[in-house]
Amino acid sequence: MHNELKLFPREIKGQMSERTQKLLKIYYQTLSSVDNEFPYWYSRKYFELDNEVAAVRRAQALKEAFSHLTAVIFPGELIVMQKTMHYRGSFAMPWLSEGYFMSKEDEFYQASLKRGSTSADQHSKMGSGGGNVTKSFGKVVSIAGKFGIREEEMPALLELARMWYGKSVDDLGNKYEKMVPGYDCKEKIMRSLVCMFDSGYTLPQGREVINYYYPLQYGFDGLIKIASDKMSEVAGFANGDGMVGMNRLYNYQAIKLVLEGVQAWILNYAKEAKRLEHIENDLDQKQEYQEIYENLQWIAYHPPRSFKEALQLCWTLHIAVLNEDAISGLSLGRLGQVLYPYYENDLRNGKIIEEQVIELLELQRLKFTCVDCFASMGVVGGVLSGNTFNNLSIGGTDKDGRDASNTLEMLMLEAGIRCPTPQPTLSLLYDDKLDDEFLLKAVQSVKTGTGYPAFMNNRVAMEFLLEQYRNENMNIEEARAWSIGGCLETSPCSWMPLKINSDPKTYYIPGGSGQPTSVGVHFVSLPKVLELVLFDGVDQRTSESVLEKHNRKLNSYDELLATFKDYFSKIVELLVRCNNIQHDIWRKNNMAIFNSLLKPDCLSKGHLINELGYRYNATFNIETTGTINLINSLASLKKNIYDEKRMTLDELKWAIKNNCGYKTAESINSYSLMDQVKIADTEGVTRRELEHFEEIHSLLMKAPKYGNSEEYVDSILKDWEDWFTGMCRNYQSLYGHPLYACQISVSTHGAMGAVTSATPDGRLAGTTFADGSLSAYPGTDKNGPFALMNSATCFDHSRSQNTQLNFKLHPMAIAGNSGSKKLLELIRGYMRRGGFHLQFNVVDTNMLKDAQKHPENYRDLLVRVAGFTQYWVEIGKNIQDEVIARTEYGEM
């Protein structure tokens, strides 16, 4: 019976305003919806402008699209505008990629399948609940596994997509990446899911911090004037730059056009607010429409005058950037510090009170939660779990190195407690200088079970930034401006001098100043590479020969490790070259214009992102998944095969090929190790064989495991980290800068686990990998949280853009004030040891099991996955199983 389980609720629960509650209720009933407006007008204009300069052509298309979006305002909203007409809307961008949303029989889809760009779609799982449209019904067609589009719009979308065939970044990039020697091997790598995604056409931007400064300071009219003045100034001058100096004229023209487009979009909303005011009978609602009209009419031209206008403008800018390109992880940065001057002014002048601010922040949370990104099933389901990672950072230090937290950030925490929603998730930039009251408020938020804020180490991030951006002259003051981009990507930012209204003071506000920080080589599966090493380059799932045979006998641990590094390096080199080409095509035809003009120093230099207009450009990375399964596997191989010779390599390979005598995870529809089922001796194997499998599997499971403060395995992790973080720097991005390591799993540990055979650490075929990069494999950390922290900090975290450690705590473990203080001490302890990131799921595992059985009772249940918070019902089963299986600490 469903109510037989004793379920422990979370200790802290907030109460949102009635208005927010009503709007959230609508959200709970809303389907992810797609429409054609943006791609229609964009394509129409683009194809009219043959031979126009690329940046201007794109800008004209963007202007056309923005200015034709239908404005829809929902009753009760105070912060208005959304990506499309729908409450939770998005749209296809066939100029980036078009094959993945065609029907499976379509030749374009089949072409994508062959080159591996849709392989991840087949192994990604989308939660079937919430707003996901996983099946067609009535007049709604399910598209890309998650979204619903009206059947009346589908034929036109397909027609638009066909117009882009051979011209999209995906297609054009593919044409040129084929010229890279060994390209066939790259296709095999993608098809076998050794790597989960290409980078240049999937989500080419994001995992970065937006910069709201220029429109806040100058307003749209001011910026249009700057662009116009600059055009007069630079027209016909190369300025000593014979390559791209002349482009400045076209770039400023492009900037001006896109600004005009976004301005028209805002004005369309203002017009709609005015129309609604006229037809509205309720006087309060009428008044609200009037205020919305006035605010929009003002910010369409001028810098904002109040907190509310500034908040509205920041939201508008945010979704304008999101509409410009396919983006996940466009972070708000330290919005509480950006908006503080407006908040302080309004409070001082009696224009606003705290409760109003909290309600506005709740409404802003709801707006962000509605943000969808239309991308392939593999990207949206396999990586993002439906989230779009609009991350809000709080805390950190100011320009002078002092505690930067403020009372508005306290209210942001409060809004997050009262209105628990997946977005924006919160990231606390931890520094020892931060005030205890602020930190305890954050702990209170963690206890709601939303998983936010996550805690990131200010000092470690700054060390990473100073090293990575040394060649671009980053200094300590600038390093202090950083924020998290995406779920936990350390991103470079800058201090901008803001003046508001008649206030004589200059406020230095932080804002993003770097390119996307998680592009380049996406998610290489380390356990899958190990599988290729053990089986001489052959994928055990497909039997395809992915890499050239290494022809080594792997007679020693050193030989095994050297072979692993060789294979890994070959894969990385090939992927770097192919993805550099994809991004190069992107920058030639699909460059960011709106996002560029927001980032220093594009406006002053006259160069957009594609011409190194950003202040920081050394932002490309190499991402890995399954670190801990690799480390545990290496420890097991070392122990069982080489040091103690408990089995031969051939015996191990035989066991792996036969999944150690277990059924496949898919056949039993569970992706957690603890649920796996053994084959019976009636199913084609002998009893003796089964005993042998059991014996081998037991040895694999007993081998030393990461997370227990054990030197044997921790030293393997340290060696790996030292090598991996160093080797990344041997590769260059298309912008001529060295790459760095990025170690987060997002949701890839589900899809990539699904295609990987059993591993030498005892993990069985098809089951999900350990999450993050430093979370223990479920059930293998036996010595408590401090032992896990010891293992996790055995190497220098500042050599990587990030690391990721997730804890699951039973609500009872941190109950009451003493529990809060204990949790804070745990966080402090980890940060002081040099750990970069720590986050918590405060949840009773029994509740999760119940939610899996009875999803209808848990529409609002939130869990922390890996760097993001999501509704339980919108997560795929393989990730749900992994979250359930995570070790739950019942006491600290």
Partner: protein, 93 residues
């Protein structure tokens, strides 16, 4: 007196589309189905299918052409034309 045509909610100006199947009636504030009939007094939402410049396609009910600008281009009946500078309502609508 001529009876006023009753349109589907999704073809009226008093409908805010929450998603592809439902929306909010901006007058009553209630959640309504996109394909339900709206009250007869609700004003028509400009869409290509109501525009003089729209030419239906021969092979598909859901595709046609827009002849309202210098160069003809793909169009589809259900496309909202509220922001289109060339929209001219068909007389019979």
């Amino acid at each position: 007196m001529k009876n006023k045509t009753q349109y589907h909610y999704r073809d009226t100006l008093n409908y805010a589309p929450v998603d592809v199947v439902k929306g909010i009636d901006l007058i009553t504030k209630s959640l309504v189905k996109a394909d339900d009939l709206a009250p007869p007094e609700y004003e028509l939402l400009p869409k290509c299918k109501f525009c003089k410049h729209f030419s239906s396609g021969a092979n598909s009910n859901y595709k046609g052409s827009c002849l309202g600008f210098a160069k003809p281009f793909l169009a589809y009946p259900d496309m909202i034309a509220k922001t289109c500078s060339s929209y001219i309502k068909n007389e019979h609508e």
